[in-house]
Structures are given as structure tokens and as C-alpha cells.
Amino acid sequence: MKLEIRGLTKRFGDFVANDHIDLTIEPGEIHCLLGENGAGKSTLMNMLYGLLDPSEGEVLIDEVPRSFATPGDAIAAGIGMVHQHFMLVPVFTVAENVMLGDESVRGGVFLNRGQATERVRALSQQYGLKVDPEALVEHLPVGVQQRVEIIKALSHNAKVLILDEPTAVLTPQEIEELMQIMRELRDQGTSIIFITHKLREVKAVGDRISVIRRGRVVGTADPSTSEAELAEMMVGRSVKLVVDKEPSTRRDTVLQVEHLTVTDPRGHQVVKDIGFEVRAGEVLGVAGVQGNGQTELVKALIGLIRPDTGVISLDGNDISGHGPRRSLEAGVGYIPEDRSHDGNVGSFSVRENLILDLYRDDRFARGMALRLDDIATNAQERIEEFDIRTESDQTPVSALSGGNQQKVVVAREFSRPLKLLVASQPTRGVDVGSIEFIHRRIIAERDRGTAVVIVSTELDEIYALSDRIAVMYDGRIVGTVTPDIPREQIGLLMAGATDTGEERV
């Protein structure tokens, strides 16, 4: 099946998200769509999948113009999509999720779960996608959930499969497996649109590459193009792929963690007897695939979760289990992994968010009364210093772009003296300009003598910032290494292989 996009345009009010995009997807090719966050890749795919109505332009399938008012139309036309945020019902089984919308029924009414299970088995065998059809989706690891998504699309007879940022949640090994699956699908005749902002993956698996920037296709390339060239096409200027920094001058130990064990609200032990230390003026990178206990480790560090056992001592004082306020007052700064969930109050103004954890400070409150003038002055200063692009300091923070929302969090956390900075996914979903800015500020904070813990699933980020790297797998630190170690080796650690072989119990 040949898919052609001609002059597709999407406007939201005055904003043009997609500007006359032309693309052709040939049958049986892996077509990469490369672009940074906010370039308009997802908008394009949502139009293709019937989730958004195009403002202009047309879609042709095998030379016939088609329009998709709903995803149902797109599915009927042979388009399947694996969304970045999985479209799976967590409390349903794999089979139920796969049959949803096209159910196996008895007598036209009653569900035939047996038949659905068989259908999943057959597909999983045909394409080598291992999964248990009767498992509840919420109990499956993300890598397997992704397989379920692919099976779901295939069960609708997809001829063109759109994969939206599919590698963000996978280990290097799982990424390699996924690429193998993609090649297999291509060889069986399915076309694949592979959306990503990772240059390495594009080069590894793509047959053709289209680069999107600010809603336009700015060029096409083939996989032999160099990473630097691709990066320049993607961002529109030459990009430094590394952060300038001096080697760290290690000083006294600031953070000391011993025998830390944490249980999540569902009763699973997710951090298991972890110990490490971070010195002043040093960046410790915590690498690992999402869901291996990093989230809970971070929450324990800043006091949001009370650990079951262990000590978290900051300058020799145990701060574990005393709540975030105690940690904040002890000089811990925190950049949470999900800024709109934990970092900002969306309906609050930029001004209010800039004092979200400082409002009791003498600078901003006299007794119970807020010092409104000082709060406003502070906002002006931070907005200028951190180049936060906002209409005014009274604008609700939810109206800002992702990068600027993140800068609000960073500006706030850096506006008081810190002993320890804990940054979790500090640049997720942020444009390249803001990434560079935030990385520079973090290194500056390190150079001022703050101990820094960076948790990231992006190995590039870990390599760019860390002085030492700790790799987490299944709630444990399976190895602590220096950034000169090759990626493959960290990849092995992230998948749970340890050199001593004493991993799982």
C-alpha cells in the first residue's frame, strides 16, 4: 500500500502546527520522521489517524484521495498506530485490549474471549511477538505493552504502521529487539512510519528519512547521512552534542545513602537495599530503564515517600521520612520528572509558581501575609535571568510551552542556596535550546559546590552531565561506572547483567 500526503496543514487559531506537508510512504519501507519535541510530528500523525481534522491538504492511498473523520476510518483504510502514550486499558487483559472495537462475539452480543485469545496467539506467533493473551495489561512491563499495541494494530490488518516515539521507554536491548520486529514487519510487506528524535535509531533502521522542523518538512535524507548533518537539519543550526564542563573537583561527601529500601503503594518493594554517596561539586548520573525504581528512589530522597529501611543523610543529618518540607529546608532542590504533575500548579500564574516552595520564606511572607510586591519583583528577576518566554508573570503556567514550564521549575529551585540538587528527567519533552540552557545551569550549580543527582532514561543526557554513573535495575544499583565506559556495557547493566552474577534473588 502506498501512502501519500499532499499539502497537509493544521492550524490552531493563529498557530500553524503543520504547514503544507508533503510525504510519500512507499510499500514495504521504514520511513523515519525525524524532528525535535514540538516540531509537529504528532500533529501530522494524528491527522493521518483521524484524531485531528486537517485544515487543508489531502491524503492519498494507492493514488485514491481519502479522508479520515475518525480513527475508525483510518483503521478501515489500513493505517495502524502505536501511540507514544499507550492506548491500552490497564484493567483489561491483553486479549480484551486487542479485540476492543472489533470484538469476537457469540450471537452478535456476548463476548467470545476464547476466540480473542486464539487470535492474539496466532498473531504473536506469526510475527514473533511474545505475549500472554490472558495477562492484565497493567501487570506487564512497558516493553511488552508495546508489543500488545503492535499486535493490536496488526489484528486490524494494518498495512501502514505508525510508531510514535516507540523507543523512549525501552532498554538498548529492547530497542534492538523492536528494530528487529520492524525489519521483520517490513519484509512481510508492512510499511512503517517511525517517529523519533534520536539520530542513532534513525540511522540504524531507516530506509528513508524525512526531517520536520517547526511544522514543515525541511528535507529528506538517507541513512548514510552523518549525525551532525541530521542534527543541524533537525534544529536549524549547528548543535553541540556535548556540554562543556571542567572535570569535577570532588570535595566532602554531601549525600550519603545506606541500605535504602522502599515499598510502593501497591506493596511491591521497588528500591532494594541501595547505598551510594555524592560529594559536593559532583554529578552522579542514575541511568536505567524507566520503572526500575528510580522514581521511588528520587521520591525517597526528597522525602515524598517514607523508606522502609535505610538512612539518607545530608551533611550527616538523616532526612529520610520527614517529608519534603524538611528536605527543602535542609537545602535539597528538586526538579521532578513530570513538571505538570509534580512541578507546577498549572492554573497558578508564573509568578505564583516561582515561589511554590518558597512562599514561607521571609523574603515572601510576613507572618501569614504574603508580600505581594516582593513576589512580583522576584518573578521579574527570574523571568529575565532564565529567559522564560511568557506574556506576563500573571499568565497561568499551563499556557507556556513545555520548555518554558520546565524553566519555571528550574528557576524556582535555583533561586535559593542548595546543598543537593535532585533532577529527574530534567529535559524530557523540552526543545533543544532549553535543553542546552538547562544543562549549562546544572553544571554551573555543580561548579558552585552543590552535589547533584541526575536521573535520566536518556543515555545521551547521562553521558553529557555525569561525573559518575550508577545504573539501576530492578530496584538495585547494579554497577557504578565512569562516563568513559562504552554505551554497550551500560546497556548490558541496564538490562540487569552484572559482572558478579549476583543479581536477582
Binding site: 519534603p324 509534580d342 498549572g346 516552595d357 501575609a369 504574603l370
Partner: protein, 380 residues
């Protein structure tokens, strides 16, 4: 630039609100017309003499609404009644508003008022104290009673995660039972009587009256100013609003949702207690099973109409007070049933809370205005 924008938003919002009122009054007018005997008599001849129908309907609608207006604002006496009727609505509405801003939907003003009236009423009729001191004690007792009952819901929410909509509803019924039980005991009954009716509050515990309006009305307005200050200008309000809008971010920023939920419900309960004081110490009503009436529930609609802002709540409380006083006058003078006012009130709130509907109906261009109140489910 930004101030211009705010003006535009304000006007759009006001336009939507006015339209919502107009639609509600229009539907009310239709109901008035069909509840009027003269109008109904013209119905059989609707197609032969449509004029009769419209004349009769216009007469019924006009005289009803005019009677309502005159009855609520037409004289100083009417205005005084309106103010006194509004005072408890404003106070209880403020309680709902206050909890609302912390993300709690407090349906429990009814129960909080009941317990407040029970405790405050007892102090007011049973204790013998000098004039000023007695009033103060009774007032404080009311506040404590309400705070206590609100606090229970707050603690249950904070400690056990029990949804406040369910707990406050249940606490309303429990409070009603407690009141009935108390009124079956000699200590709460009028001497020599076996009815569920307490003695009258003593004069020493009553709010003094100025120009036909009791002093409690002033206290209600002061409470509104205080609530505004706390919500908008204090660190407590900052915490409260942050927890209400995004509890996760608030917790991450070092705020304690447990403390905020509890404090918010205690204060909300105290405000409902103040509402009970208007009833017991202001109007001097004795305790009876019907003492609170439906004020606790009306308070929710008042707060919703006031968009959970203190100023809005005061205005909405005044409006509802006026409609309630006017409704009685309307029934007395032109015979239109006073039950109609409840329908119109509900319709006003319905349309005000659904700005998108009003805009679509009136074909207003969407330029913001009319924010929808906090949307949240059971999970929070």
C-alpha cells in the same frame, strides 16, 4: 495589553452570566404562566383567540416578578428581611467556597449548621451570663460546633482518603439524628413540654439589632472579607489553593495535604457554624428538627453561583435571600407558588455553571470568560 485582556474577559464573563439569568427567568416565566388560573382558562381558545392567552400570560408573569421584586427590595422592611435571610446563606456559602478552593466539595454545610445550632443554641438558652459575654460564648459555641463537624470530614479525608462528598452527606444525616435525639431529652426541651422544641435563646445571647437588621449581617460581610484575605493574601490561602489545584505539586513543594484538608474543613465548618448563629442568635429561633431548613443545601448552589469566590458568594447569597423573601411575598400577593423560586434558582446555577451551553445558545463568540469550576472525579 494584559489589563485590556482582563477587561475583555470580565465583560465576556458578565455577558454569559446575564444571559444565564435571562434564560432561567424565561423558563420561570413559562412556568408562572401555566400555573396561573387565568392563563389556563384561555388555553382552550388558544388558536381562536391567541391574544387572550398572551395578555393573560404577560399579566401573570409581570405581576409575579414585580411582586417578587417589591417583596424583596420594595421597602426598608423588605430589604431588612432580605439581608437577614441572606446572612446565613452567605456564611454557609462561604464555607462551601472555602472548601472548594482546597479541592473539597463540601456538601455538609447542613450537618455542620445542625451541630453548631445544637451546641450554640444550648449555650444560648441554658446558660445565664451577662449580655455581651453570653452572646460571645454562644457565638463561639456555634463556631466550635460547626468546626467540629466539618473537621470530622476533613480528618476522614486526610487520614483515610474517604471521599468528602460521601462523608459529608452521611454526616448530615447523623447530625439530624443527633439533633432529634437531643430534642428528645429533657435538657433540650421546653420545661413541661414533650415536643421536639427547645426553649427560646435568651435575649442576652441575641445579636443586637440596628435599624431593623441584626448585627449578625455585618458579621457575615466581615467573614466574607476575612475569607477573601485568607484565600488571596495569606500563606494559608496559597497552600489551600495549591492543594486544591494540584495536590501532587503542592506535596512536592513541601505542603501537607493532610493539614490543608483538615484545616480547610474545620474553617468551612466554622463558617457554617456562623450561619447557624445567624439563625439562632440572629433571628432567635428555638431548636427544632426543621431549624436549619434547606440553608445547608442552598449554600452549595450559592457557592457554585458565586463561582467559589468570596465576592461572588456574597452576591449570590444576597440574590438567593432576595428571591426567597420575594417568593413568599409573590405567593401572598398574586398566588404564584413560592416553590417556583427554587426552580428558578436551580436553573440559574445550572446555566451559570454551563457557560459553553449559554454561549452556544446565545451564539456568543468564544472569547473566554466563564471558567468552568474545578473538574475532578472520585480519585483525588
Amino acid at each position: 495589553m494584559s489589563s485590556l485582556r482582563m477587561t475583555a474577559g470580565w465583560w465576556a464573563s458578565a455577558k454569559v452570566t446575564l444571559a444565564a439569568f435571562a434564560i432561567a427567568l424565561l423558563i420561570g416565566a413559562v412556568l408562572i404562566a401555566f400555573s396561573d388560573e387565568d392563563v389556563v382558562e384561555t388555553l382552550p381558545n388558544l388558536f381562536t383567540y391567541p391574544g387572550d392567552f398572551f395578555v393573560a400570560a404577560a399579566d401573570a408573569i409581570g405581576s409575579s416578578y414585580w411582586a417578587m421584586l417589591k417583596g424583596s427590595l420594595g421597602s426598608w422592611h423588605a430589604i431588612a428581611s432580605t439581608l437577614e435571610r441572606s446572612a446565613p446563606l452567605i456564611c454557609a456559602g462561604l464555607g462551601v467556597t472555602f472548601a472548594f478552593r482546597a479541592g473539597l466539595f463540601n456538601i455538609g454545610a447542613q450537618g455542620q449548621m445542625t451541630i453548631a445550632a445544637l451546641i450554640g443554641g444550648y449555650v444560648a438558652f441554658a446558660w445565664q451570663l451577662p449580655a455581651g459575654l453570653h452572646l460571645l460564648c454562644a457565638l463561639v459555641a456555634c463556631l466550635i460546633g460547626g468546626a467540629l463537624w466539618g473537621g470530622v470530614a476533613g480528618v476522614l479525608k486526610a487520614q483515610a482518603g474517604a471521599h468528602e462528598v460521601i462523608t459529608t452527606i452521611m454526616l448530615n444525616y447523623v447530625a439530624a439524628s443527633v439533633l432529634l435525639y437531643a430534642l428528645s431529652k429533657d435538657a433540650f426541651q421546653r420545661p413541661g413540654s414533650d415536643n421536639a422544641l427547645s426553649p427560646q435563646p435568651l435575649d442576652t445571647a441575641r445579636f443586637p439589632s440596628i435599624g431593623g437588621v441584626h448585627l449578625g449581617v455585618l458579621l457575615a460581610l466581615l467573614a466574607a472579607v476575612l475569607v477573601w484575605w485568607v484565600l488571596d493574601r495569606s500563606t494559608l490561602g496559597f497552600e489551600l489553593r495549591a492543594v486544591g489545584a494540584n495536590p501532587n505539586a503542592a506535596r512536592t513543594a513541601g505542603m501537607s495535604t493532610t493539614v490543608v484538608y483538615t484545616v480547610a474543613m474545620v474553617i468551612a465548618g466554622a463558617l457554617a457554624g456562623l450561619a447557624a448563629a445567624m439563625n439562632v442568635l440572629g433571628e432567635g429561633n428555638a431548636l427544632s428538627p426543621t431549624l436549619v431548613g434547606s440553608i445547608g443545601f442552598d449554600a452549595i448552589t450559592v457557592a457554585l453561583l458565586g463561582r467559589a469566590s468570596p465576592v461572588g458568594t456574597v452576591l449570590a447569597g444576597l440574590l438567593f435571600g432576595a428571591m426567597s423573601v420575594g417568593g413568599v411575598a409573590m405567593q401572598a400577593s398574586v398566588g404564584t407558588p413560592k416553590e417556583l423560586t427554587a426552580v428558578i434558582q436551580a436553573l440559574i446555577v445550572l446555566f451559570v455553571a454551563a457557560p459553553t451551553f449559554v454561549k452556544a445558545l446565545m451564539r456568543f463568540k468564544d472569547q473566554g470568560g466563564g471558567t468552568t469550576l474545578l473538574a475532578k472525579g472520585w480519585g483525588a
